[in-house]
C-alpha cells in the first residue's frame, strides 16, 4: 500500500468523451490513480462525476458513443489498452472482474444462475462438465449462498436482490481474478442487505488478496470498507488520500463540502453544509481547468490558469487545487 509496492492497476491521464445528439460530453479528463495488490480503494463522487465511466474504461466495456482520447491503463505493468480484443476478452473475467449495480438486471433473465456462473468458468478454465459444476457450487459457497445445489437451477427472478448480487459476485470471482471492480454494488438493496453484501465483498477481497475498486456515491460506505479514497467531481480526480487522512485533513474544497453534507456525520440539521450550485455543463467546450471553480467558496483568479494537476499534499495524499485547505 505504500508507493514502493508495484501497483496492480495503474490508470494515467484517462480522458474520455461521449458523443451524443446534444453535443460532445467531456466525461473524464486526465483521471489518474493506482491500486496496490490487496488494497481496497473507493472512488467516490456524485452522479455525473464519471466514476462508472472510469470503471467501464478499465474493463473495456464502454458504450459505442464513448471515445478514449488519451490515457494509459496498466494491469501488472501490462498495457491493457494495447491488448488484442481476444486477449482482452481472456483478461476480463479471468484476471479482472466487475460487479454491477441492479443485480437483477445484470443477470440473464432466462438462464439459470448456475449456468451463468458455469459460462464464465468454462470460458476461462475449460474443464469437464462435472468439474465445472463442482466449481460452480464452490463459487456459490464462497459467497455464502445457502443451499447452492438448489439455487443453481433457479432463475434470477426467483431470487432476492441480495442473492442475485451474490450470484454476480460468485461469477466475477469464479476464476480467481486479482482485480475486482464493484460498481455501486448495493444501490437498490436495503441497508441491512447492503451491510451483508459489503461485508462479503470485503471478506472475499481480503481472503483472496484482491485489489478492489469500490465505486459509490456514499462517502460513509467508502469510509467503512476502503483503505484509500479517490474523490471525483465532474470527470476530474480532485483528491486522493487514505481514509483516515482524508477525513482528518481534507484538502480540496469539494471534499469538505461533501463531508459537510453527509447526514450521518452531523448532529443536527443545522450542521449540514450544502454545496452551492450544480455540476458544470460537461458539453461546454470551454470548461475551466478546475471544474469546481464555479461552486467553490475559495475561488480566486489564479484558479483560471491552465495546467491544474493533482499535487502531493501529504503522505499518500494528492489534491488538485491551487488553494487547498
Amino acid at each position: 500500500m505504500t508507493s514502493t509496492t508495484p501497483p496492480l492497476l495503474s490508470v494515467r491521464d484517462l480522458t474520455v468523451d461521449f458523443r451524443t445528439r446534444h453535443g460532445t460530453v467531456h466525461v473524464l479528463e486526465n483521471v489518474s490513480f493506482d491500486l496496490a495488490p490487496g488494497e481496497i480503494i473507493g472512488i467516490v463522487g456524485e452522479s455525473g462525476s464519471g466514476k462508472s465511466v472510469t470503471a467501464f474504461a478499465i474493463m473495456g466495456i464502454l458504450d459505442k458513443a464513448a471515445r478514449i482520447l488519451s490515457g494509459d491503463i496498466r494491469f501488472e505493468n501490462r498495457d491493457v489498452m494495447a491488448m488484442s480484443p481476444r486477449a482482452r476478452d481472456l483478461w476480463r473475467g479471468k484476471e479482472a472482474s466487475i460487479i454491477f449495480q441492479n443485480p437483477r438486471t445484470a443477470l440473464n433473465p432466462i438462464r439459470p444462475v448456475g449456468d451463468q456462473i458455469a459460462d464464465v468458468i468454462a470460458r476461462h478454465t475449460p474443464a469437464a462438465p462435472a468439474e465445472v459444476k463442482a466449481r460452480v457450487l464452490q463459487a456459490m459457497r464462497q459467497v455464502r449462498i445457502p443451499d447452492p445445489e438448489k439455487r443453481m437451477s433457479a432463475y434470477p427472478f426467483e431470487l432476492s436482490g441480495g442473492l442475485c448480487q451474490r450470484i454476480g459476485i460468485a461469477a466475477a470471482l469464479a476464476c480467481e481474478p486479482r482485480l475486482l471492480i464493484a460498481d455501486e454494488p448495493t444501490t437498490g438493496l436495503d441497508v441491512t442487505t447492503q451491510a451483508v453484501i459489503m461485508d462479503l465483498i470485503r471478506d472475499v477481497a481480503r481472503a483472496g488478496n484482491l485489489g478492489t475498486v469500490l465505486i459509490t456515491h456514499d462517502l460513509a460506505l467508502a469510509s467503512e470498507y476502503c483503505d484509500r479514497i479517490v474523490v471525483m467531481h465532474a470527470g476530474h480526480v480532485v483528491e486522493t488520500a487514505p481514509v483516515a487522512e482524508l477525513f482528518a485533513r481534507p484538502r480540496h474544497p469539494y471534499t469538505t463540502g461533501l463531508l459537510g453534507s453527509v447526514p450521518s456525520l452531523v448532529e443536527s440539521v443545522h450542521d449540514l453544509r450544502a454545496i452551492p450550485g450544480s455540476l458544470p455543463d460537461l458539453r461546454r467546450s470551454d470548461l475551466p481547468p478546475c471544474r469546481f471553480a464555479d461552486r467553490c467558496p475559495r475561488h480566486q483568479p489564479g484558479c483560471e490558469a491552465p495546467g491544474l494537476r493533482p499535487e502531493p499534499a501529504g503522505p499518500n495524499h494528492l489534491v488538485a487545487c491551487r488553494y487547498p485547505l
Binding site: 466495456i61 481472456l90 473475467g93 440473464n108 433473465p109 438462464r111 459460462d119 464464465v120 470460458r123
Partner: protein, 336 residues
C-alpha cells in the same frame, strides 16, 4: 403444467366470442338469402316464406345460434347457395391450397427476416443494416396486389422465366394423389419430383409476394429486439466476464431477443391470412380466400361464414402455439 392447461382454457371465451361474431356477421349482411334464392319472379311471397322456414330464418336469433352451433358440432358448415355443394367439402378441397401458400411464404419470410434482423442489429450502420432498414420500410409499403402484379409483369411477361399465374399447377399436368393436400409434398410422396418442381415454380411468385409483406415487420422487430437486448445490462455483464462474442450473441442475446418476435408471429400469420385474399385473386390461386371473395360478391353467406370461422380458428391456434413456445423459452411465464 397447470399453466399450460389454463392457457388453453383461456382461449375458450375468445373462441366463443368468435362463434357469436361469425354468426352475427352473416345475419346483419344485407339481402335475405331466401329472397336471393327465391329471386325468380314467378315465386310468390308464400314460396319465399317456405324457403325461409326451410333455412330456419323464421326462428329467433338465439334459436338460430343454437342450430348453428349444433351444425358446427356435426362438422356441417352449411350449404353454398350458388353451387349447392356443402361448404365443408369445398373448404376441404381449397384449404390445402391456401395453407400451402401461406406456410410456404411464412417460412420464407422467417428464413430471410430473422437472420437479416440479427445481422443488422449486430452491425448497426453497416450495409446489412441499411439493407434491413430499406427492406423493412419498403416491404411494409408494398401493397401485395401491386407487388404481385409487378412480379408477374417482370418474371412472366418480360423475362418469361415464371409460369403463367394460373393456380397451383400447370393445367396440363396431373395432380398427384392427395396425401397431405400440399402438392409440393404430395409430388415427392408420389415419387414424381417433376410435379413438385412444377408446383414449386407456380408457388414461387405468390409465395414471394406474401413473404415480402410479412418479412418487413418481422425483420424490423427482430432488429429492434436484438438491439434492445444487446444494450441491456446482462449483455454488459457477459462481456465483462470475457465470454466469447459467439456465446454472447447466440446464448445470451438471441434467445432473449426472440421472445417478443415469437409472440408476434401469431399476429404476422394473421396478417398473412388476410393478405391471402388479395394474393389469391392476383395469382388465380384456388384457395379459400378467393372462394370467400367470390361468395361475398354473389351474396352467398355460408362460405363466407365458414371462411371467417376457419381464419379465426387458425389465428387462435397459431397464437396458442406461439404463446406456449414463448413460455417454454421464458421461465418467467412459468410454463415449464
Amino acid at each position: 403444467m397447470s399453466k399450460i392447461v389454463w392457457r388453453i382454457l383461456s382461449s375458450i371465451p375468445t373462441l366463443f366470442g368468435v362463434l357469436i361474431a361469425t354468426f352475427l356477421i352473416t345475419r346483419v349482411l344485407p339481402g335475405d338469402p331466401a329472397v336471393f334464392f327465391a329471386s325468380n319472379p314467378a315465386m310468390s311471397n308464400e314460396d319465399v316464406e317456405k324457403i325461409r322456414v326451410a333455412l330456419g330464418l323464421d326462428k329467433s336469433l338465439i334459436e338460430q345460434f343454437w342450430i348453428y352451433l349444433g351444425a358446427l358440432w356435426q362438422g356441417d358448415l352449411g350449404t353454398s347457395i350458388s353451387t349447392g355443394q356443402p361448404v365443408a367439402t369445398e373448404m376441404l378441397t381449397r384449404l390445402p391450397a391456401s395453407a400451402e401458400l401461406t406456410i410456404f411464404a411464412f417460412l420464407l419470410a422467417i428464413a430471410v427476416s430473422i437472420p437479416l434482423g440479427v445481422v443488422a442489429a449486430l452491425k448497426p450502420g453497416s450495409w446489412v443494416d441499411q439493407l434491413c432498414r430499406i427492406i423493412a420500410t419498403l416491404g411494409v409499403s408494398m401493397p401485395t396486389f401491386v407487388t404481385g402484379l409487378l412480379l408477374i409483369y417482370l418474371f412472366y411477361y418480360i423475362l418469361g422465366v415464371a409460369p403463367e399465374p394460373t393456380g397451383r399447377l400447370d393445367p396440363f399436368m396431373f395432380k398427384p394423389p392427395t396425401v397431405t393436400g400440399f402438392i409440393l409434398i404430395d409430388g415427392l410422396i408420389d415419387g414424381d419430383p417433376e410435379t413438385t418442381w412444377a408446383a414449386f415454380k407456380q408457388i414461387l411468385l405468390p409465395g414471394i409476394t406474401m413473404a415480402i409483406f410479412a418479412l418487413a415487420p418481422l425483420a424490423r422487430m427482430t432488429r429492434a429486439s436484438m438491439l434492445n437486448v444487446l444494450s441491456s445490462e446482462f449483455i454488459r455483464t457477459a462481456r465483462a466476464n470475457g465470454l466469447t462474442r459467439r456465446k454472447i450473441v447466440m446464448t445470451y442475446a438471441f434467445r432473449n431477443a426472440m421472445l417478443p418476435v415469437v409472440t408476434s408471429l401469431g399476429m404476422t400469420f394473421s396478417y398473412m391470412l388476410g393478405a391471402n385474399v388479395l394474393v389469391e385473386k392476383v395469382f388465380a390461386w384456388p384457395g379459400i380466400g378467393a372462394y370467400a371473395m367470390d361468395s361475398l360478391i354473389s351474396l352467398d353467406y355460408a362460405p363466407l361464414q365458414a371462411f371467417m370461422l376457419i381464419m379465426a380458428g387458425i389465428f387462435l391456434l397459431v397464437n396458442l402455439v406461439t404463446d406456449l413456445l414463448a413460455g417454454l423459452v421464458d421461465p418467467r411465464a412459468g410454463l415449464s
